[in-house]
Amino acid sequence: MKHRLLLGVLLLLLALPVLVLAQENTTVTTAFAESQPNTLDPHAARIADEFLVMRNVCEGLVNYDPVTLEPVPALAESWEISEDGLVYTFNLRDGVTFFDGSTLDAADVKYSFDRLSDPALGTSYTAGLILRDVAGWAEARPVAPSVAEGTPTPEPIPPALAISGVAVVDEMTVSITLSKPVTSFLVRLTLPGGVIISEGSADGVDFLATGPTCTGPYSVASFTPGDSLTLVANENYWAGAPDVKQAIIRVIPEVSTQVIEFEAGNLDIVTVPPSDLPRIRADEALSAALYEVATLSNFNIRINLKDPKMGDVRVRKALSMAIDRQAIVDSVLAGQGVPAVGLYPPGLSTHDETFNPFPRDIEAAKALLAEAGYPDGIELSIRNDQEEVSNRVINAIAATVAEAGITLNLVATEASVYTEDRTACTMEMGYIRWGMDYPDPENMTVLLLPNAATRVNCGYGEVDVAAQIGELVGQGVSMPLGEERDAIFNEIERIAMDAVLIIPIYHGVSTSLVNPRLGGQPIDNNGTRRFVFIELE
């Protein structure tokens, strides 16, 4: 008897490491790419680290397909769009439960969108992207009279605190009425701000401590700012419980440390900075773990068209023609990118491989400069924040344009100083790392419009093609998806590049190291880590 007990204990001890191992294998550890979330409120989320949490924890009426990025049913099982393109009717999925146990119904949807429309909530631009074309937006966000420091503020118009265009039809049906037909509305609904939380769950709750009450494949188990955030699998997830049972996202501000932690076996997924790439590619084991995703982005130079030098299209064109984009991608970026000569990144239906308005031509650039009154070359300055990679890119640009007699000086300051000066139109050019908010060409045209992001586009309203671009964008926005719509957006691209309204440099590629034990699709084509799509053996 005694012996048998001993044997049992021994067997158990032998099995213990296996048990522990098995348990660990369903945990995935990674790190926030930039810093850490400042909020866990989906309706106030605005930075990539917050989006990472929201994309894994919450869902909206529609979500995007991880491969095609097209809208697919999520909390809405199906929907109908009225013939005039104004009314979207969503049929909600039956039997979906929130983390608090309550069942999804139309009231939750109404509650969530009303909350998103509340200006007191925070500064999420996704609220505007989702709701600005929904009926009632003007009442929810009454335009504030302009204010400057030191001047007494006029009494603000009280916001409606609800968005009238979102209505409960019956318990499981919701309608959203737009103020004008907008084709990209469904895609915009997939933005993190469009998620549905349980009715009343936000009242008096500190989301930073608890995480939001959503319906997604994971819920926030704990968050210790400065340390880590832990997600646990939602076993009741309507699409089936995920393979990965626990995901730990650590706060590691230094990217080099993230890579070292991966090499030490402590992290399963990390982003790789270009400077580490050559070393990683040279290492057999590490290079096998490389995982590349082309991001929908356009890293470009935005121009102050009010500036006397940059206001001349010949100067802009000469600069653009003098840049050796391929050399920059090959050297500074170690291949993490695709040279950009237009607006749209590869992956969008409007991306045109043959479009090449700026073939590198030093002689032509010199001739243009001479024509513009700078036969002996020109000295220009470009501003940027202190992000390391982009400053190395700008220095490489400066090196390649020097051949054409252009002296390009980089002035790098803190981000808040840079944005302030850009808004005040006191610089000649500014470097922009623009990642698309949603996969529709319309989102790229924001860079060309004076009133979509007024604060950063200096003189874009006064340029002679402004009216033409504005009209075409207005047309394209409400046209049904297809070749005709694409043709309009390609026309916009052609006009913008003829006038050199921006100088595109490259489309980004995000490179990560992923532990080979993680199968499936750990990173979706939007560049987001989605633990639900990881398959474990």
Binding site: R46, T123, G150, I252, E263, T419, D421, T423, I432, R455
Partner: protein, 306 residues
């Protein structure tokens, strides 16, 4: 003694107020706007205006000052612009890791730096002296950033002696950041111990003690070292205060959630309430440690009395 304490604390109040006002106006003179930072590239004019109103940046600057100062006097440091969490909570959370790291690092520095300095003074111009001078030189000149990453690769990836190389915890994760943070201090303490001890060793009373026939060790500990202690304690204390206001680089490389990172992030984002709160905390830390050092002096040097 009590009178001395009270007067020191009373003197502190105008200092803190001055620092508070200076920070308040300096932050607003500095270019950069918190609302701009929050809005980033995406916000339009309308959301900018909403943000400015929400953060009360649209009010006249003196009204802002009165509101801030009023709240501060009632012990309310306000909420962070970025996280909307109470500033005092955030400082409290960052203070614990900071004090743990600072105390560990200064202890290591004390244990290594003082003996190295002693050896180097007693065996002046010997190989030990040269060695300790080399340590001091390396300590002040090696960039912490480089050293930290190298140690991570060597001890974490290659030797695998330290399984977890970054992050917060009172376990193996404390080792590398503490060593990194202590290095500069070891150098400083070695140099200061060596030079003051050399000074003391040349004094008449040391010669007297030696001629009395006292053992060398006793001369060193009872007569020389005690008299050399004053500058050592002073240097140690100010270094501790420096580390308590955050060892930014070490905290960044090792993901240590301390005050240094909090301060730099807050300045970058122009998070006025957070900066204001941190500056007060740092002023109190410096003043507190200076006071403690001053109170400690009479125990070392009986000629000092308060």
């Amino acid at each position: 003694m009590t009178r001395y304490l009270v007067s020191r604390i009373v003197q502190l109040l105008p200092t803190i107020l001055g620092i508070y006002l200076l920070t308040f106006f300096m932050m607003r003179i500095l270019p950069g706007d918190p609302a701009q930072f929050l809005e980033g590239d995406r916000g339009d004019e309308q959301s900018m205006a909403e943000t400015r109103r929400r953060l009360r940046l649209d009010e006249p600057i003196l009204v802002q000052l009165a509101a801030y100062l009023g709240d501060t006097l009632q012990g309310d440091l306000g909420r962070s612009f970025i996280t909307n969490q109470p500033v005092s909570d955030m400082i409290g959370r960052a203070f614990v890791p900071t004090i743990q790291l600072a105390l560990t690092a200064t202890t290591i520095a004390l244990i290594l730096g003082v003996p190295l300095g002693v050896v180097s003074a007693v065996r002046q111009n010997s190989i030990w002296d040269a060695l300790s001078r080399l340590v001091a030189l390396v300590g002040v000149s090696i960039p912490v950033f480089w050293l930290g990453l190298q140690m991570q690769v060597i001890f974490g990836v290659q030797l695998k002696w330290i399984p977890r190389i970054s992050g917060y915890g009172i376990d193996e994760r404390l080792i590398l950041p503490a060593i990194s943070a202590s290095l500069g201090m070891i150098a400083l303490l070695t140099r200061i111990t060596r030079s003051t001890l050399l000074d003391v060793l040349n004094q008449d009373y040391i010669r007297t003690a030696k001629s009395k026939g006292l053992a060398n060790l006793r001369v060193l500990t009872r007569h020389a070292l005690v008299n050399a202690l004053l500058p050592i304690v002073t240097v140690w204390g100010t270094s501790l205060a420096g580390l308590l206001s955050g060892a930014l680089l070490v905290e960044t490389i090792f993901s240590w959630p301390g005050m240094g990172r909090l301060l730099v992030d807050s300045i970058g984002a122009r998070d006025y309430p957070m900066i204001q709160g941190l500056v007060i905390a740092f002023a109190l830390i410096y003043a507190g440690i200076n006071l403690l050092i001053d109170l400690f002096y009479p125990f070392i040097d009986p000629r000092i009395r308060y």
